[in-house]
């Protein structure tokens, strides 16, 4: 069975600082995809960043980057220069050979002015 664990229910960061959200996962497959989704108070689910397991290079999207450690099954999200608009629930998700996404329970990030 595939699982995704987010061990930080809530986090807080000051505006303009950097924060890292943790995610660990478990799968027996060799090829899979990992994703981070953002859910602001509007409730809309927004894809932030994606990583294919076969790619060694960590994905980056503007201020968002990941630290993908395949052997450790770790997929953390780093947000640089945090902005008030980054306040949201963040979900880590895993997709294997089936076309199903397995989500973690989420981390609620508050960016403080």
């Amino acid at each position: 069975a595939q699982t995704v664990t987010q061990s930080q229910p809530e986090m807080s960061v000051q505006e303009a600082e950097t924060v890292t959200l943790s995610c660990t996962y478990d799968t027996s497959e060799n090829n899979y995809y990992l994703f981070w989704y953002k859910q602001p108070p509007s409730r809309q689910m927004i894809l932030v960043i994606r990583q294919e397991a076969y790619k060694q290079q960590n994905a980056t999207e503007n201020r968002f980057s990941v630290n993908f450690q395949k052997a450790a099954k770790s997929f953390s999200l780093k947000i640089s220069d945090s902005q008030l608009g980054d306040t949201a629930m963040y979900f880590c998700a895993l997709k294997g050979a089936t076309n199903k996404l397995i989500f973690g329970t989420g981390t609620l990030l508050a960016v403080q002015p």
Partner: protein, 112 residues
Amino acid sequence: DAGITQSPRHKVTETGTPVTLRCHQTENHRYMYWYRQDPGHGLRLIHYSYGVKDTDKGEVSDGYSVSRSKTEDFLLTLESATSSQTSVYFCAIKQGPDNEQFFGPGTRLTVL
């Protein structure tokens, strides 16, 4: 914007009544999904479809049925709603080079 709409956006109903939620997409995506979101659980897959009349169960399918008679619409039905089905329901489609999923705006369902 993946062109996904959900209706209704909010619904309050009573225990034992049937409820149907609709997901509509405009871009001819083959795969469509229904999830529910509950505190402490993240999003969990209810059912998904990989084509017209082709559906399969997800992690939490008990008490739900789905239908897909045309590519653009994926319906989720609660035959007899229970209070445990109070939740926010999201529809999603699959697209992109990494098979990522994009979500609709969600439907908040309250079963009294």
